[in-house]
């Protein structure tokens, strides 16, 4: 009996409202609202479509920036050569000629006589193709030296002769070769001796050389009247300026004339570059970080704030004192707002006293930090940046002053609201480097909205502390 009556009740409602005979009338205003939703979503879809592209471009830009700054500003081959040359004269300064003797030895194997020279694979004519400049310079240096010795700086002859007399390695065979080969330019043995002295130094200079520079070659060739000499001089690297000094030291008291002339000829072309190790301070450090944080979320200076959480990953590039970082975080942001801060077109019969909100979102930050302190593996930075909120879900719960008030209890909005670069991030970070690869950081932060957040258009603020575990992808290693 009771069941039948219940079924009758159900039937009454099913027949009455289940299939209404007179359907509700169409309202144009409802379609206008629908159209607004569709238009809004169209724009939003556009932004969402571009978001991965913008993100990729930003990441590539960061990478490019990092790589560009990371790239050492030196010519690698030259720096290696430079190191060897600089070291030798200094080491052999006391013997005054050890280095030069070595250079002379290296050259004597290459040039035995004028006939061989013609067949020599390191003929200057082939120097354009053959970038192995060390043999070339050895050959070139000998003749260049001789040429210079015969035409300039006669005052050095004596000194050079003295220098040779002190050498531990006898330049005897070279002398003969020089006399035989450079007979055109050297009129006597003294000159040859001088040439030998100069030769050794110049060999060292030229051993420092970079590949042949065609314009230089022409100019010097004209100046010297000899193509080969020109080539030898042209092979001098602008970076040899310091070498001149080194060699001067190696020779003890004398200033090598040919070497100084060489530099003088090339002087207008000289570009002094800093050679050697890249400055570690300019080095870019790439790092990825795992981040977790707890924060207070609220509106109007964190009124009615509640504790939320974030976790995610970041990628950062540190150059000098600057750190650029981006990434993504999943954020849970609960907060409570008064009805005055709640914006809606819906008209409540009885206004709620407050609204409890729970937002879940993806936070994509773009931050820049500046290092203000660094010592003993500890670092303090301050930073700022912009965040984008992609709100995945918003749950609103209406709380009424009277619990028996008739009205909606709440509603949910899913995947509808975005704040693209609408949040200002301010933070200070203390980082402790555990070892060369890993570091831990504590980061108090504040997030302030430029634009209103979510369906209720609240000025949602957050303040909290994040803990980051950093992994340096290219940790600093001491050079060998």
């Amino acid at each position: 009996m009771k069941k039948e009556k219940e079924e009758d009740l159900d039937k009454l409602f099913k027949n009455g409202i289940g299939d209404p005979v007179n359907e509700p009338v169409y309202r144009e205003a409802d379609w206008d609202t629908m159209e607004l939703i569709l238009d809004k979503q169209k724009k939003r879809t556009g932004i969402i479509f571009w978001l991965p592209i913008i993100g990729t471009a930003a990441a590539l830009l960061l990478l490019f920036l990092g790589l560009w700054l990371y790239k050492p500003q030196v010519v690698k081959n030259n720096s290696d050569q430079h190191a060897s040359i600089v070291q030798r004269p200094k080491r052999d300064t006391g013997t005054s000629g050890g280095a030069t003797a070595q250079a002379a030895d290296s050259s004597k194997h290459k040039i035995l006589n004028p006939a061989n020279y013609a067949k020599n694979a390191i003929h200057p004519a082939e120097s354009k193709k053959n970038k192995s400049f060390l043999p070339l310079s050895a050959g070139g240096s000998r003749r260049h030296t001789t040429g210079y010795a015969s035409t300039t700086n006669i005052r050095d002859k004596k000194e050079a002769g003295t220098s040779i007399a002190k050498k531990t390695t006898s330049p005897g065979p070279d002398k003969k070769e020089l006399i035989a080969y450079d007979g055109r330019n050297t009129t006597n043995k003294k000159e040859a001796d001088t040439a030998d002295a100069n030769k050794t130094n110049n060999s060292a200079v030229i051993a420092n050389s970079t590949p042949t520079n065609a314009p230089d070659k022409k100019e010097v060739g004209v100046a010297d009247g000899k193509k080969d000499n020109g080539t030898a001089i042209a092979n001098n690297s602008p970076a040899n300026t310091p070498d001149k000094k080194d060699l001067g030291v190696a020779d003890g008291k004398k200033d090598n004339s040919a070497a100084s002339n060489t530099v003088a000829v090339n002087a207008p072309k000289v570009k002094v570059k800093s050679i050697g190790k890249p400055n570690p301070a300019n080095r870019a450090i790439f790092a990825i970080s795992a981040l977790a944080s707890s924060d207070l979320n609220g509106v109007n200076s964190l009124q009615g704030s509640r504790v939320g959480g974030n976790f995610g990953g970041l990628f950062s590039v540190t150059v000098n004192k600057w750190t650029f970082s981006t990434g993504a975080m999943y954020s849970i942001k609960p907060y409570q707002e008064s009805y005055a801060n709640y914006h809606t077109s819906y008209v409540f019969q009885t206004n709620p006293s407050n609204i409890g909100v729970n937002c879940r979102m993806i936070d994509i930050p773009f931050d820049v930090n500046y290092q203000v302190y660094r010592a003993h593996g500890n670092k303090v930075t301050i930073g700022s940046g912009l965040s984008s909120y992609i709100i995945l879900r918003e749950d609103y719960k209406f709380n009424y002053a009277n619990p028996y008030t008739y009205g909606p209890a709440g509603y949910s909005v899913i995947n509808q609201n975005r704040n693209i670069l609408g949040i200002l991030n301010l933070d200070a970070t203390y980082e402790h480097q555990i070892n060369s690869k890993f570091g831990i950081a504590f980061q108090p932060y504040v997030k302030l909205p430029f634009s209103n957040v979510g369906a209720s258009q609240a000025k949602l603020q957050s303040a909290g502390v994040a803990v980051r575990l950093n992994w340096n992808l290219n940790p600093f290693r001491k050079p060998n």
Binding site: I17, Y404, A409
Partner: protein, 213 residues
């Protein structure tokens, strides 16, 4: 509207053609609003839910299987959107007036016929948790197990909510039946702000009378 016209409209919606979207919206507005009104508190909320439902229709129309009735697909979307809209309220417990349930449960149904507006207003006055279960059970024909799955509640809660919904409805019917009642349930002749009843056919608007169910 015949099947061919409907498929043309759906084809237009697939291309995001606004005119086709508007036509589809107009044609199925009454049908969809009828569903949303049953689950909503009032007409404005129903319109909001309806638009959310149509938004899903327009953005996911490619998932519609053309071999199946469109109305059934649309109705299901409207029902699901309505449930989602009030989902936060569906697990709320109401304990008021339950002690009065017993003596009213065997009450007689009114002799006179309550019209659509009267019945709809009664259903809309139910708390969302009761209303949703009542709609799903009494009107849509779902079982308590199915309702439990849909609403993420236990079948027992569903039964309980149905029982309470029936009790409240009987209470409302009794109030409406009483001679001194000054409520809206007066043979449906009072003004109702909830829905407007269509009196004439709208020019240029298709009606879905020919659409298969």
């Amino acid at each position: 509207m015949g099947d061919e016209e409907l498929h043309q409209l759906i084809g237009g919606c697939l291309k995001q053609d606004r005119a086709s979207q508007k036509m589809l919206y107009k044609v199925f507005y009454g049908f969809s609003m009828g569903i949303c009104l049953r689950y909503a508190n009032n007409r404005d909320e129903a319109a909001e839910v309806l638009n959310q439902g149509f938004y899903k229709v327009f953005t996911r129309i490619e998932t519609y299987d053309r071999t199946r009735p469109f109305k059934a697909w649309l109705g299901k979307i409207m029902m699901n959107v309505s449930i989602d809209y009030y989902r936060a309220n569906l697990k709320m417990a109401y304990t008021d007036d339950l002690d009065k349930a017993e003596h009213l449960s065997d009450g007689e149904l009114p002799d006179r016929k309550l019209n659509y507006d009267d019945l709809l207003k009664m259903v809309q006055r139910l708390p969302p948790a009761y209303r949703t279960v009542f709609n799903l059970f009494a009107i849509e024909g779902y079982t308590h197990e199915e309702i439990g799955e849909l609403l993420h509640i236990s079948p027992g809660t569903s039964k309980s909510n149905l029982h309470k919904a029936r009790f409240k409805l009987k209470q409302m019917i009794a109030e409406a039946d009483s001679p001194d009642s000054n409520g809206n349930y007066n043979n449906g002749i009072d003004y109702s702000p909830i829905v407007a009843i269509k009196k004439t056919n709208m020019h240029g608007v298709y009606f879905d009378k020919n659409i298969r169910k």
